[in-house]
């Protein structure tokens, strides 16, 4: 009878159709996948199921040994070592249930064997009915634990990716609590707290700190609320910050299976990128303007040549071979030649610029006397200086031997002189040369209108011509850029000293190191 069961009672308890079954309570508890034991009021085991017996065998107890009669509480108390704390908790918990202080007790514990980690839940509940005692279940939860660990690992990887992002990331839960913020975000908004302290804070507190970092906190706050309200993703919103920088903000409302699951903000500092873009735009505009000036400068001499050749032709046609107007033809040819030379100079400048841009400015160095070269250039420009009524003052040291590209340095000197003639006619010009401190120092000083500090910066750049000169003087404004490149290719320097109204002094210094060039 101990094994018997009244089917009617079972039916009344469970309400199921079991009329055809011969069932004992042990059949039922043996079928459980949990290890179950029934304890009497003292904690002695009075029944165990098949799973319990199997579990006991797996834990090294002999197959024949029976746990029946063993006091489970003592067993718990005797457990020492690795799981002593768990065993103690189990002892106290089960005792409480047996003493009727608690209806149930649950404890999660680990039992790791070599090569396998296993987790269990111990569940003790008061035995219902007349008999005092308890039912103890051991439920294996290893699979759940592994799944949880895998999920935690996934989350950890996910957050470590967000943490490593070079742009700021802020993850806010559906309830408006911060779930995650990375270091980049804290840096962008000068948040002093470490990112790991932020999760759990209400995002409104964070929002306040972030808001004040914007140049227009009111507008920024309103916009952020609007974005949250609208819940539409925004990829690239440029915002001006109080620290003078420009950030790019992205907003992504997160959805899981169509339901709101929080929001993701991403913020990036694009100040540098913006600056590069602006620089590029300025450079392109300067180049376009240069192209327009260059076209005009090239077109002008061509137009003049065209006019003059048309005129020559007209003169030749109307005069006939007998009475050629020699004087006028010769004069026309002279001007045509001058214009052609002018075109050639412009084209040479353009070629030099393209050579410099391509890094193909090569030097043919030879050892020469810089004094002689300067005298040569001055002699060549003498007529121009006289025409421009510019008295020349020379202060030239003799015998300055230097290894330079004669033609290129000639080009630099010619450029400096013709600039002076262009901009400072009618005023004295001083040209100096001195060898001192390992360098040759050439100075060309005019007494023209001078150049403002702002324009001085642009003077040596490509495609720039000081605004003041753009009106009266033609040319591509490439001369000083080319000169600077030539001087720097010689490891020298070119500088300007000038104040508006008091002339300009251009100083070229070239290293004198000869040894390298004399074999």
């Amino acid at each position: 009878m101990a094994n018997g069961v009244d089917v009617k009672i079972l039916r009344s308890i469970y309400g199921c159709r079991m009329s055809n079954l011969e069932l004992t309570p042990f059949d039922i508890i043996d079928s459980l996948i949990y290890s179950a034991a029934v304890l009497d009021s003292n904690g002695a085991i009075i029944a165990v199921n098949e799973s319990w017996r199997r579990f006991a065998r797996e834990n090294g107890r002999s197959a024949s040994a029976s746990d029946i009669g063993m006091n489970y509480l003592k067993e718990c108390a005797n457990l020492a070592g690795a799981d002593a704390k768990g065993a103690d908790a189990a002892f106290r918990g089960i005792s409480a249930v047996l003493q009727g202080k608690k209806d149930k007790f649950t404890l999660e514990y680990a039992r790791h064997a070599a090569g396998a980690k296993r987790w269990f839940i111990l569940n003790a509940s008061k035995l219902r009915g007349a008999s005092a005692g308890a039912v103890v279940l051991h439920i294996e939860i290893t699979e759940q634990k592994e799944t949880e660990a895998a999920l935690r690992e996934n989350a950890r990887r996910f957050y470590s990716i967000l943490a490593a992002m070079h742009y700021g990331v802020l993850l806010v839960s559906r309830e408006g609590k911060i779930e995650f913020a990375n270091q980049a975000l804290c840096d962008l908004f000068a948040l002093s707290s470490p990112p790991s302290d932020l999760p759990g804070l209400p995002s409104t507190a964070m929002l306040e700190k972030i808001r004040v970092a914007y140049q227009d906190p009111e507008g920024a706050g309103a916009r952020i609320l609007e974005l949250i309200e609208r819940a539409q993703p925004v990829n690239d919103e440029e915002v001006a910050m109080r620290n003078g920088r420009t950030y790019l903000r992205g907003f992504v409302p997160l959805k899981i299976e169509g339901k709101q699951a929080g929001r993701l903000w991403q913020v990036q500092d694009i100040t540098e990128r913006k600056r590069l873009e602006t620089d590029l735009r300025v450079a392109i505009a300067a180049r376009d303007e240069f192209l327009s000036i260059a076209s005009h400068e090239l077109k002008t001499p061509l137009t003049a040549i065209q006019l003059l050749i048309q005129n020559q032709e007209r003169l030749l046609r109307s005069a006939g071979p007998a009475a050629l107007p020699y004087e006028r033809l010769a004069r026309g040819s002279e001007i045509i030649l001058k214009e052609i030379k002018r075109l050639a100079v412009l084209i040479d400048d353009l070629l030099d610029v393209s050579r410099i841009s391509a890094g193909r400015l090569s030097l043919n160095r030879e050892v020469i006397d810089l004094h002689s070269l300067i005298k040569e250039v001055l002699a060549r420009e003498e007529m121009q200086l006289i025409k421009a009524r510019m008295p020349l003052e020379e202060d030239l040291q003799e015998n300055v031997l230097i290894a330079i590209d004669r033609l290129r340095i000639d080009q630099v000197l010619t450029n400096l002189l013709s600039n002076a003639i262009k901009y400072a006619p009618g005023k004295p010009l001083r040209v100096g040369l001195a060898a001192e401190g390992g360098v040759a120092r050439i100075e060309v000083r005019d007494q023209g209108p001078g150049i403002s500090k702002g324009d001085q910066d642009k003077l040596f750049t490509r495609f720039e011509r000081a605004a003041a000169s753009a009106t009266a003087v033609s040319g591509l404004g490439l001369g000083l850029f080319i000169s600077k490149q030539i001087v720097e290719a010689h490891h020298g320097k070119i500088k300007i000293n000038s104040e508006p109204g008091s002339g300009a002094s251009f100083v070229v210094t070239l290293p004198l190191r000869l040894e390298k060039w004399i074999l």
Partner: protein, 121 residues
């Protein structure tokens, strides 16, 4: 027998020089100015007014149109015939440019010389 004088106002040195050379070769006296300001300066200094003003329309300092406005403010200069050198038709300035002749660029020498002869006859 010299003809003119003609006041030539052109900012591009090459073209100014070429036009002056061509006109002088035909016996015209040519006064050259780089821009409107210089042209007005020459007019102020000149005792005999030029017979004709040949002027580039686009100049960096004072444009041809601005210069014409200045000329019209002065009774002595208002009647000097003006011809503008222009690369194309310019809308918008029509009212201001009433009575002003145009020579289209690129300049045809025969047209230029015919106009010069006509104005300085």
């Amino acid at each position: 027998m010299s003809k003119g004088p003609i006041l030539l106002v052109e900012d591009d040195e090459s073209i100014r020089e070429a036009l002056a050379e061509i006109l002088q070769g035909e016996g015209f006296v040519v006064l050259s100015a780089e821009n409107g300001y210089e042209a007005l300066e020459i007019l102020r200094r000149q005792t005999t007014a030029p017979r004709w003003i040949l002027m580039d329309i686009a100049m960096p300092q004072m444009s041809g149109v601005e210069c014409i406005e200045k000329l019209r403010e002065n009774l002595k200069w208002a009647k000097i015939p003006v011809t503008l050198l222009s690369a194309g038709a310019r809308a918008g300035d029509q009212a201001k440019l009433q009575g002003v002749a145009f020579i289209k660029k690129p300049v045809d020498i025969d047209v230029l010389l015919a106009a010069a002869e006509e104005r300085c006859r």
